[in-house]
Amino acid sequence: MDFNDPMLALSSWIGQIGDFGLGLLWRFIHIVVTLCHIVSGIFEAVESYAISLGLIQKYSSTDIEKLKCLAVVVDIEAARDVSKVVELLEWLTTIGVKQVGLFDSQGLLKKSKDMILEMVPRSVLLQETGEKDTSGIALEFISSSDNKEAVVKAANILFQKYLKSRHPGKDEEGENVFTESHLNEALRVVGESVHVPDLLLVYGPVRSHLGFPAWRLRYTEIVHMGSLKYMRYGSLLKAIHKFTGVRQNYGKGLMVITESRDSNRNF
């Protein structure tokens, strides 16, 4: 018993020193990790700047023809700053993107539609161009009401069509009303576009598409770009360039691994 008390005191004292040392070690590791993040951020910023100046050769020759339709999801906080959205659209016009869908869940960009169309040179509404090629950029404004609500309305249209087409004793015939192409058509009737974006860029703190129309997202590449406030031209060009290097199999067929920079896809 007597022997144990001094041992306890010694153990406690050593424990306290140990705790202090460990705390210092933790802070030291924290500093190292933070520095790594800072260095990585600086590197990305420098790379982005170099891409903007055209110093990195491979990004100067991006095959923009592969990108037929681009969609941009903007966080509602960012959507309040229309100037940043306009700047982004100007960059996309410079890169050569022809069709852009702008989405925010609350429809703030829809409300600023006229202002955006006025401020972005050679921009038109997608509905006005139809499928015609334009020299500028065709814009589409989308919000959450174009997602699930639109599908429900389209479902109701199909339902009414089914009721009209149904014959007594031939229930299966009506089922031909429920195909993907019929739903596409019903969505058009409701006023929704069915243009499927090839690439979706998400600007915001969260890596989620925030309710972008689900029906259209089947094989869309999704890239999280970070905050719109700190967006960089180089990062945008890099994301588009990376997309153009992708080959999709759409879930079918065997892939062949090549030694090119193309990445091979299964789905």
Binding site: F20, Q106, V206, K252
Partner: protein
């Protein structure tokens, strides 16, 4: 210099502390040990790893298990062996999720588009699903995991359909852990199927046209088997950044985590990485907080 000195001191104190531990532990009474044991450990739960908060765990995690074939090629194995490794990884993944308190796990096992793959590979996959489900029924029962299979299921072999029904029947009474396997699943088909379901119910007089809204529509989707149809977190492996027609309606506000790791290599550390990333995010569900 100071930090290095403190590192050395802490290491030294740790070693001395370890040596002195038998002396200090002799002071603890049996009563104290009993108090520590009671109520602090629940059998079957995984201790929450550092960096994760149990109360912020997602309720529903979905996974697109991509990369089995590439993994097999890199390892010099057959594609079928890659899919076997993928199936094994899924069971481990689901087990870990349930132990961490996640209630529902959905896995995209086979998409409608995958029917376009080589016949041999498709047959191999169907055979794998059947073999695995059959062999794991006892495991699901012992772990009290409910298994549901969602998808079109019209083209799958009769034998597999039988095994699916058997597995679902054997596990339907379990509530706390739910494993949903999407086989022959397409997000667009799911939405269309819901449309047809709404029509049928309307014909039967169960619903009126004006009752059809988002909530009702959602209840007709194939994910109606779960209380939480919308995943909180979607993980896709192998570096691809698409949702590929998986749970299109349900993924509106789901956190997307794209990992470069191939699915058979997606081990516990990777799962924790995904969960840590999820817990750090600021989810607003489209609203301003």
């Amino acid at each position: 210099m100071l930090s290095l000195l403190c590192c050395f001191m802490s290491l030294l104190s740790f070693l001395i502390h370890s040596c002195l531990r038998p002396w200090t532990q002799a002071k603890k009474s049996l009563k104290d040990e009993k108090e520590i044991d009671e109520g602090t450990y629940v059998a079957g739960e995984e201790e929450t790893p550092k960096g994760l908060l149990r109360e912020q765990m997602p309720r529903h995690v979905a996974v697109i298990m991509d990369g089995n074939r590439r993994w097999a090629e890199r390892a010099g194995l057959l594609t079928s062996q890659g899919h076997e490794a993928g199936a094994k990884r899924l069971i481990e993944f689901a087990e870990l999720c349930f132990k961490l308190g996640i209630e529902t796990v959905s896995a995209f096992a086979f998409s409608t588009e995958n029917w376009g793959r080589h016949k041999i590979e498709v047959n191999c996959l169907m055979s794998l699903f059947q073999r695995y489900l059959k062999s794991k029924i006892q495991f699901f029962q012992s772990e009290e995991i409910r298994v549901s299979v969602i998808g079109n299921l019209e083209k799958i072999p009769e034998s597999l359909l039988g095994t699916i029904k058997e597995t679902e029947e054997a596990t339907k009474r379990y509530k706390k852990k739910h494993l949903i396997l999407a086989i022959d699943y397409s997000g667009r088909f799911d939405i269309l199927h819901a449309c047809k379901s709404v029509v049928k119910k309307s014909q039967q007089g169960l619903i009126r046209e004006e009752d059809v809204d988002q909530t009702l529509f959602e209840r007709e989707l194939l994910t109606k088997c779960t209380e939480f149809p919308s995943p909180d977190l979607l993980i896709r492996t192998s570096g691809e950044q698409r949702i590929s027609n998986f749970l299109l309606w349900q993924l509106a506000y789901t956190e997307l985590f794209f990992s470069p790791v191939l699915w058979p290599d997606f081990d516990k550390d990777r799962v924790i990485e995904a969960l840590v990333s999820y817990q750090r995010r600021e989810r607003r569900f489209g609203c301003r907080i």
